[in-house]
């Protein structure tokens, strides 16, 4: 009697195990697994063709820190129920404005009292961040109020609000009264360049902080520390009472309202933090990149940030700080390795990373959109 039962039991256990594995895979998402496997394969392939892996890994870390804060900006937006913030470019243009003002202040000698070159750079970056974050906060509040009026269609609208913001600032860039010759188009006297070199300003400000080398791998300690610090702050904030309320407002507005949370205010808070982080993030991005990308530069950055957090495991409705760390690393890892690897393997083809970026980032967003239908 007992024997067949045991067999049945063990089969049940086996089945359960398979079900659990399948469920885990489903929860993690097939696209994410594909991306992870692709990353590992590319890494191995890079090792086989004899690329300098440590140096490459240093690059990945650097890009991780570069993009990190922009990706982090997605968390408050998603958690407060505003969906991924495609319109983070609203914050980005505010950050660019801060950066341009900082450059001009530097040209006028505002930071001359600091003689230490490293501190001089950091002062420039901090001023850029301060102005950018203030601008981002103001714009973010307005943007948040707008998003409160269009609940349920935030994503499509945020894309075009972001585009519109970039276009408005394009007009500003043509006319902005800046005198630093590094920033303005040569020979015209007005109008900013497409790319502004930050070499003499705050370029490398945080990258060069505590920078050290292990063999051929460069570790940009300052940049990464700053990123981790911001992630830590975000984590603390999300665990705080206010952060919990914000998440509750995004998770179940009706229930949140019933328990006395002002949902609309929480949503504005989420969008404002996200936009301000966008302003912060672009300054960090630019100091590491070495250039300010003006005009249409920030147009599609929101898409990359959204895709990164989704790759990390976030959904349209929920995101954790871990998703930012994991997603930004994985996405930037793939893109960073794609360029040298493709030039090594197929030297005649330009634009492989761009191709990959388009397919991976938009593929993951589409996947997340098809998953989201249950929530609505």
């Amino acid at each position: 009697m007992s024997k067949p039962q045991d067999v049945v039991k063990s089969e049940v256990v086996k089945d359960d195990f398979m079900v659990i594995v399948r469920k885990r895979i489903a929860a993690f998402g097939l696209p994410r697994i594909i991306i992870l496997v692709a990353f590992i394969l590319m890494f191995v392939l890079a090792g086989i063709v004899g690329m300098n892996l440590p140096s490459f890994f240093g690059d990945v870390l650097r890009r991780w820190g570069m993009w990190g804060i922009l990706v982090l900006a997605m968390v408050p937006s998603i958690q407060s129920g505003n969906a991924p913030n495609f319109g983070v470019s609203v914050g980005i243009v505010a950050g660019l404005l801060g950066a341009v003002i900082s450059i001009d202040l530097n040209y006028r000698g505002a930071f001359d009292f600091i003689t230490n070159p490293a501190l001089h750079r950091i002062a420039g970056a901090l001023v850029a961040i301060a102005i950018g974050v203030i601008g981002g906060t103001v714009l973010g509040m307005l943007y948040g109020m707008l998003l409160n009026r269009v609940k349920g269609s935030e994503m499509a609208i945020s894309v075009y609000v972001g585009f519109s913001a970039v276009a408005v600032f394009n007009i500003l860039w043509v006319r902005i009264p800046i005198s630093n010759p590094i920033a303005i188009l040569p020979g015209t006297g007005s109008g900013l360049r497409q790319m502004i070199n930050l070499q003499d300003d705050f370029g490398d400000a945080f990258d060069s902080l505590f920078r050290f080398q292990i063999g051929s791998m460069t570790i940009h300690t300052g940049l990464l520390l700053l990123f981790f610090l911001m992630c830590f702050f975000m984590y603390i904030f999300m665990k705080s009472k206010r952060g919990m309320r914000m998440s509750a407002a995004g998770d179940n507005p009706t229930y949140a309202r019933a328990s006395g949370i002002n949902v609309d205010r929480m949503r504005i808070l989420g969008t404002t933090i996200s936009t301000a982080l966008g302003a912060f993030g672009i300054v960090i991005y630019a100091q590491s990149f070495g250039f300010l990308q003006m005009y249409r530069g920030p147009l599609m950055m929101g898409f990359t940030a959204v895709a990164s957090v989704l790759i990390g495991g976030a959904t349209i409705r929920r995101a954790k700080v871990f998703d930012v760390l994991f997603g930004a690393f994985l996405f930037n890892g793939i893109l960073t390795i794609a360029l040298p690897l493709s030039t090594q393997l197929i030297p005649d083809i330009p634009g492989v990373p761009e191709m990959l970026r388009l397919i991976i980032s938009n593929g993951i967003i589409l996947y997340a959109l098809t998953r989201a239908k249950g929530g609505r």
Partner: protein, 497 residues
């Protein structure tokens, strides 16, 4: 019902409210025209080119709106199918107008397949179709780049002047106007005589086949009732008379009429006058029919309104700057005929059973399901139609340019078409042919004028360029906001009930 309305201040108010975006654009364009210092000849020339180039693409947006899919940002994918087809047709030596028709033929199955896939995708994200459309266009762009940068030449060896020097990947710019393609404005440049000849023979074959089918099926050949063949016969007779008058397409004899038909452009002034006269006659007929024959009460507002518009247009055309402007503009006949044909076809389609189904799906999916309509299938068909039409629209656009920017020609197709459509008064949930045509005229007026106005007013063409870009984005953002806002209000009103 239409005829029973009476003009009231309320109606005027609602007219201005409904057309506020269009009116705003009219005013901005007016100011921009004044500031640009452009001559009417230049302006009308540029505008007539742009109407021919873009209207078809804008019209491809109509069906998804009707079917409740919103603004189809995925028409970019239709444009890509056209470009893929164009590449292969040029590769295999297609040329001229016939080459372009081959492109359309090749693009159709590609667009059907891609439209089907996008439709499937949209069905799995109902309610997020618009953001889905934006993203899927970019997603497809990645594969498109892979195809043209690597697959062609990298995997399939191709030898052609269109390939890069390394043999892998296609050049950034493909000149389709040069020998041996000769596709630059090949549609625009088809002469009226050609069109007439083809139309006459096509109609003759059509009527003959129809008669044979009727004879085989033993159906009555009648001039009355629902099975009447009055219209095709009438059309054939008219075409035959014109065809004979042209000297059998110039083959039997040549007269002044034939020589006139040898042109490929129609003078805009005469086109306006003749078109206006025709419209006036039709409207007069409608008014007489309503008042005298059917004796319906009230004022037939719609025909009268159109009549007034025609008269205003005629009077405006007598004003010297407009007169000289129009007099010096030639409209590409075939392109405009294709657009008019599409308008008629869409109008016809929306009254067929499938078209009506799309309307009900667009109004309410649950109601449509309850009525026994296969919602998912209807939505997929709408997406396929839109994608195929977008492909044709892109062919018209590219033949007008005469060059194809392999990697960027499709990029802004969705943006500009949608912005124009919205300026014409379309919304996410409601749109008509009128919106498309009005939108193209208004939006492109501003597009032409903005850089010149910017140069004159603020000493920078860049400002004008960025301004028009801002306008395109802002118009879309605004339309999406308005739609979401209204939907929220409606939902609240329903909850209060």
């Amino acid at each position: 019902m239409e005829n029973q309305k009476i003009i009231s201040p309320n109606m005027l108010k609602s007219f201005f409210f409904e057309n506020k975006v269009a009116l705003m654009f009219l005013i901005i364009s007016g100011v921009a025209f004044w500031a640009s210092g452009m001559t009417t000849v230049m302006f009308f020339n540029e505008l007539s080119v742009r109407i021919g180039r873009d209207t078809f693409l804008v019209l491809s947006l109509l069906i998804p709106v009707v079917a409740g899919l919103g603004l189809n940002f995925g028409i970019v994918i239709g444009a890509m199918s056209a470009q893929i087809a164009l590449f292969f047709v040029v590769l295999f030596g297609g040329s001229g107008a016939s080459g372009l028709f081959t492109v359309a033929l090749v693009a159709t199955p590609i667009a059907i397949l891609l439209g089907y896939l996008v439709g499937r995708l949209f069905n799995s994200m109902k309610g997020s179709e618009m953001i889905g459309g934006m993203i899927v266009a970019l997603f497809a762009a990645g594969f498109y780049q892979f195809f043209f940068l690597f697959f062609l030449g990298g995997i399939v060896p191709i030898e052609s002047r269109m390939m890069t020097s390394s043999g892998i990947g296609v050049l950034n710019v493909i000149d389709i106007g040069a020998s041996p393609s000769y596709m630059r404005q090949a549609l625009d440049n088809v002469t009226m005589l050609h069109i007439l000849t083809v139309a006459f023979w096509a109609m003759l074959v059509f009527v003959a086949i129809m008669l044979i089918v009727r004879l085989v099926k033993k159906q009555a050949i009648t001039m009355k009732g629902p099975l009447s063949i009055r219209r095709p016969i009438f059309a054939l007779i008219v075409l035959a008379i014109v065809y004979i008058a042209s000297g059998f397409g110039g083959m039997a004899f040549v007269n002044g009429f034939t020589l006139w038909l040898y042109q490929d452009r129609l003078n805009a002034l005469y086109a306006l006058w003749w078109g206006g006269l025709l419209a006036a006659l039709l409207m007069g007929y409608a008014i007489i029919k309503a008042k005298v024959v059917e004796k319906s009460p009230g004022v037939p507002i719609k025909p009268i309104a159109y009549l007034v518009i025609v008269i205003i247009a005629f009077l405006l055309s007598l004003w010297t700057p407009v007169y000289t402007g129009l007099e010096n503009v030639g409209l590409p006949v075939l392109t405009y005929l294709i657009i008019i044909g599409l308008c008629v076809a869409i109008k016809w389609f929306l009254n067929t059973r499938l078209g009506q189904n799309m309307r009900s799906v667009g109004q309410s999916r649950p109601v449509a399901t309850a009525a026994g309509i296969n919602v998912d299938r209807t939505r997929i068909i709408a997406m396929i139609m839109s994608t195929v039409l977008a492909a044709y629209g892109q062919i018209i656009m590219l033949q007008n340019f005469g060059v194809m920017n392999t990697y960027s020609a499709h990029e802004n197709v969705g943006l500009f078409a949608i912005a124009a459509f919205l300026v014409g008064g379309a919304s996410v949930a409601k749109a008509s042919i009128k919106n498309a045509i009005l939108g193209v005229i208004l939006f492109h007026s501003l597009f032409i004028l903005a850089p010149f106005a910017g140069a004159n007013l603020m000493d920078s063409t860049l400002i004008g360029e960025y301004f028009r870009e801002f306008v395109a984005y802002a118009v879309i953002a605004l339309a999406l906001v308005m739609h979401a806002w209204q939907r929220k209000k409606k939902r609240k009103a329903k909850e209060n009930e």
